[in-house]
Amino acid sequence: MSDSGPTEQPDERHAVDSLLLKRVAAGDRAAFSELYDRFSKPLYSTAVRILTDTAEAQDVVHDAFVALWDKASTYEASRGTAFSWALTLTRNRAIDRLRSRRRRAELLENSAPSDLGLDENSSGPSADESADTSDQAAAVRAAVETLPSDQQSALKLAFFGGLTQEEIAARLSTPLGTIKARIRRGLLKLRERLAASQ
């Protein structure tokens, strides 16, 4: 899902995103600019959420969009939506930075829980709630909120935490099999609820 207009239906939105990406692959800067406007807010929010650092998040989004421009021709619609592809470019870079930061912190032995960027109580960069008022974003947040709290926690750690399955299990003091089951059930429910809300 991208940050498109509130009246755009998901399928229509994905189709527009895909078309724009094809135009980007053809070197269309205007399409790139429009795609940036549609994607940048959720991608930047994700990067900030993962890194809890706006400067680093800007670097990550910059690199991701440059990669998107450079690799647009490699996008395959059969492997997911254009937004999910762009998100993968952003999230992988953010998580790489996060893991690099953790390794450095571990080496210097001054790691703190807040460094993980997943402390629910840490404020980090201030969120602009009014900035994202699209129906799509609200629908996603509502769907996530309906998940059981243990599934929410597992999914958010998996998505924003940059942790392995084993690290998530250790962090939640829960057996690995249970974590896998929670993530699987959580994503299946999220898919069902998002489909129902469309």
Partner: protein
């Protein structure tokens, strides 16, 4: 129907949580089952929606400008490059080709330079961090070495002190062992004494018990009747007798002094006067020592005596008589 395992791999793969082995497993499963590829794409799209659960933050305006500026220095996307189907004059083509080769070479080496410089910088960072870690580890090692040395010195001193203490304790132990042996011997002797004392105590208890039983059978001393018999003889006024009577046992003892010696055919005979009988009850006969006039008679009347009013002694023929016939020689009280 997609297997649960494949579905789980697809979910975890959509969230980039798979290990290399699992990634290979998922890739093989996707190749074998096109439906799984569709499901994986669906999961990827769903997972991407989680981006909207992050607190929304508006990117700064300058970010777009910065990105667009970066694009201006980039070559166009690969797919946007001119196709080789365009025919140009040879002279133009060779010039353009040379320029393109130069540009590509420059870009390539420029890119390689930037990449290498970045790698070198990263390596330097890593080396700096490694140096810091090494320095920290050395410091920690030195600190641990100093601490260990102090602990070793303290432990040695403590060991020496402990050795002296052990020797003193051993000496005390030997002394205590000897004392214990003496005590053990004394204990054995004491035990024998205690056993002997217990045996004696038991015997005495038994004796006391017997005496108590006897005393109970004999009655109390207060119940005894003691009577002094006075002489009725003109020729032996100093003659005297004492009778002690135990009413419980119906027996008594009579002792006499200075009674005249008897002829061979005579006996003294004791009589117990009880008001319940019309005549005195026979208490038995006795003779006295001719030299001292003394005698002792343990007597038991031949009839039950309830109340002793008097004792009397008469002189009778040898063997005694059922009813007093001879003269009375003693009477009392």
């Amino acid at each position: 129907m997609i297997a649960e395992r494949s579905e789980e791999l697809a979910v975890l793969g959509a969230l980039d949580l798979l290990s290399l082995t699992e990634q290979a497993e998922l890739a093989a499963a996707v190749v074998a089952d096109p439906a799984l590829a569709v499901l994986l794409a669906s999961f990827r799209s769903t997972a991407a929606e989680l981006a909207h659960s992050a607190p929304p933050v508006v990117p700064p305006t300058l970010l777009k400008t910065r990105i667009l500026a970066s694009l201006s220095t980039q070559t166009a996307p690969a797919s946007a490059r001119p196709s080789p189907g365009i025919v140009l004059p040879f002279a133009s083509w060779i010039g353009l080709a040379a320029a393109a080769c130069f540009a590509l070479t420059t870009a390539y080496f420029g890119q390689a330079f930037v990449t290498e410089r970045t790698a070198v910088a990263a390596l330097r960072d890593q080396q700096t961090l490694a140096d810091l870690a090494l320095r920290g580890a050395n410091n920690q090692l030195e600190a641990e070495r100093l601490i260990s040395r102090r602990e070793l010195t303290a432990a040695s001193a403590q060991a020496a002190e402990s050795s002296g203490l052990v020797a003193a304790l051993e000496s005390r132990l030997v002394e205590a062992s000897l004392n214990a042996a003496d005590s053990a011997r004394q204990l054995v002797g004491s035990r024998d004494q205690i056993a002997s004392a217990r045996r004696e105590l038991t015997a005495r208890d038994q004796r006391v018990s017997d005496l108590t039983r006897q005393l109970a059978a004999q009655g109390t001393l207060a119940d005894y009747k003691i009577a002094t018999l006075a002489s009725l003889l003109g020729n032996s006024p100093q003659a005297l007798a004492v009778a002690v009577w135990n009413p419980a046992n119906q027996e008594g003892v009579l002792t006499v002094q200075k009674l005249p010696a008897l002829a061979a055919d005579q006996d003294y005979q004791l009589w117990v006067v009880d008001p319940q009988y019309p005549i005195p009850v026979d208490g038995g006969v006795f003779r006295v020592d001719p030299a001292t006039g003394e005698a002792r008679l343990n007597f038991r009347p031949n009839l039950p005596v309830k109340t002793v009013a008097k004792f009397a002694v008469s002189l009778e023929r040898k063997g005694g008589v059922p009813k007093a016939e001879g003269p009375m020689v003693l009477i009392g009280p």
